[in-house]
Amino acid sequence: MKQFRYLFKKEFLHVWRDRRTMLILFGMPLVQILIFGFALTNEVKNSGIGVMDLSHSATSAKITDELKASRYFDLVEMIPDHDALLTAFRDGSIKLAVVFPGNFQNELAHDSRSAVQLIGDATDPNNSNTLIYYATAVIMDYKDRPTAGTGMPMVIKTDLKYLYNPQLKGSYNFVPGVIAMVLMLVCAMMTSISIVKEKEMGTMEVILVSPVRPILVILAKMVPYFLLSAVNIGCILLLSVFVLKVPIQGNLMLLIGECLLFTITVLALGLLISSATNSQQIAMLISLMGMFLPTVMLSGFMFPIENMPVALRVISNVVPAKWFYFIVKSIMIKGVGIKYIWKETLILVGMTLFFMVVSIRKFKTRLE
């Protein structure tokens, strides 16, 4: 026990005295929360659109006014001809064009139907889709207005309710993901680097020839990062509740317990990386490519897993962050209890045990 205390003190001071690293480790969650919470929205708004009115008619002018008044579109540019249209798309100033054909008014008057063309910049397909929907809604709204309330037959009215996230805020989706990302970084990457560094510098040899038991060496490496992560989790939760206004619907103790469980999982992963490599650069690359990227890509918080091809969906099952993300989302946002997440929790526990056993067995007490 005394040995452990000394070792722990050594490791703790190592971490504590590297102020630059500490600053980044605490600054990172703060910045991430701010970026994800405020800057990244999947909502489409303030897009520049162009109107090419070849008919110069009263109706088209009225519809243009409606488009200008809509809060979805930021800037409405009038476009004289086809060449100007192409230029506006190419230099990126508009994302959607509304084209009134030359005979728009005529057709409307004589055949009582005419077509408006909506051209979306499908470089970003979702954006294009959404803008076309918005513009369609504005035009349809204009079209239906004169007949509203005049007793149309057989109208189906649809009521819509957004569950859990009525304002469609992006942060609801992101907060659980940010926790997973930060833990991945702090625990997996930092732990593995700090162990490999001792190998690279040769100081590992000094420790290994001392009478300290290897398991204590490992534990002493992990505990400071565990404490650091615990503080980080606290900060993220406080920030998300008080700054982002993402409420914690479920049981707080359950949430914290699950977070600590995931911290241990990731620490075990970091240990596994460090036992497999000898150079810091490789350890970093493995934790970035092998851990961090899958966490971002395959955990479901950035990209929907159900859209992925089967192979990736299968792989996503071995990414611990996927299960953690599901658990945190369920507790924080849906407010469900352990009844709905016991399976996922068990999977995480299983993974942790597996990583622990493998890495401790692989930990070499001798240097080749």
Partner: protein, 372 residues
């Protein structure tokens, strides 16, 4: 000049003799370009719907058939009550509940208006938004059919019929990969430029070999150029590999001039290398350099418009993206590759990135001291 040549020889040897780096040159673009676009599919499809049909009428069945026959929606289950359906949403097995209340058909025929209720899992805002819009347009379509079939048309000719013809330019098949792949190429170049260069110099610091260089008569500028040029070449090689992969795997052929892409990349690489250099003058250990460049890259990439559109960001974030070289490059890449924009279209982007390059490199050189 001769000193620079020797330094270059040293750096190239060192780089190309390191199997880890060589592996990375080929594996990183392959992995990122082959796996990321597959994973990063934001397209909203396969919306899982749970139907609570309390009406059991002909119309309710017709509506359900109409919804499930589109390929956007997959029917999970019919449940008897709303609460049972909610259970599916809580278990994440459904995204959307459509409730057809008892008396739907009767109200539609007798009262001329009937209600439907939709509840969406809105944790994922995009999906909820687009899913709701799709479903409502299907319901509107269905409503039109019902009106027609009941022969209650007189009103139809009374209102001006404006129809809408949507078109999607530059990516008519709405292939999400065309959107992601050019952006991922940018991320690749950025990582190579910023990470590898900063780690390389800091490693010399950490191992102590930088002392040996500092005591030689090699000039500061030669040392820095000697460090930058190999990574600049490496970056262009990776770009070439990336372009070949995106051509072979995704059939993406740049609509614009490929020379414009190379010109911009060459300038951009100088900028990110300058950034990597700056990081390396600030950090003393590889761990610090790594964290610092990761931290900066994360901010630059997240706010670069790769996943979410810059138009929708709040004002302060938009100002920030004006100082973000990554966002310029992503935009240029998409413009040239997909829309065929010309050098003239992107001239301001190019000038700005050049300016950043000058600033970053000047700061780095100014901050690098041959003395400790």
């Amino acid at each position: 000049m001769r000193a620079l040549l020797f330094l270059l020889e040293k750096e190239f040897r060192q780089t190309f003799r390191n199997p880890a780096i060589l592996r990375m040159i080929f594996i990183m673009p392959a992995v990122q370009l082959l796996i990321m676009p597959l994973a990063a599919d934001y397209e909203v499809k396969n919306i899982k719907i749970c139907v609570v049909d309390q009406d059991h009428s002909q119309n309710s069945r017709l509506l359900i058939n109409k919804i499930t026959s589109t390929n956007y929606f997959t029917l999970v289950d019919y449940t008897g009550s709303y609460n049972e359906a909610l259970e599916y949403i809580e278990k994440e097995e459904a995204d959307l509940i459509l409730q057809i209340p008892n008396g739907f058909e009767r109200d539609l025929v007798r009262e001329n208006r009937a209600g439907l209720f939709l509840a969406l899992n809105a944790i994922n805002g995009v999906k909820a938004n687009l899913g709701g819009a799709y479903l409502r347009s299907i319901i509107a379509d269905f409503n039109g059919e019902v009106m027609l079939s009941e022969n209650t048309i007189p009103y139809q000719s009374a209102i001006p019929g404006i129809t809408i013809a949507p078109a999607n330019w530059f990516n008519p098949l709405m292939n999400y990969r065309y959107f992601m792949v050019p952006g991922i190429l940018v991320i690749l170049l950025t990582m190579v430029g910023a990470f590898l260069s900063s780690l390389n110099i800091v490693k010399e610091k950490e191992v102590g070999t930088i002392e040996q260089i500092n005591v030689t008569p090699i000039r500061k500028s030669d040392f820095i150029l000697g460090k930058l040029i190999p990574f600049w070449v490496l970056g262009l090689i990776i770009l070439t590999i990336g372009l070949i992969i995106s051509r072979v795997a995704y059939g993406i052929v740049p609509a614009g001039n490929i020379g414009v892409i190379y010109l911009f990349s060459a300038v951009y690489l100088v900028t990110v290398l300058g950034l990597g250099l700056l990081v390396s003058t600030l950090a003393n250990t590889q761990q610090q350099a790594m964290l610092l460049s990761f931290f900066m890259m994360m901010i630059f990439i997240l706010l670069g418009g790769l996943y979410t559109s810059i138009d929708s960001m709040p004002v302060w974030a938009k100002y920030f993206t004006k100082f973000n070289p990554v966002s310029y490059f992503i935009e240029v890449m998409r413009m040239v590759v997909l829309k065929g924009s010309t050098l003239y279209d992107i001239r301001f982007h190019l000038l700005k990135v050049m300016l950043f390059g000058v600033v970053f490199n000047a700061l780095a050189v100014w901050n690098y001291h041959k003395r400790n």
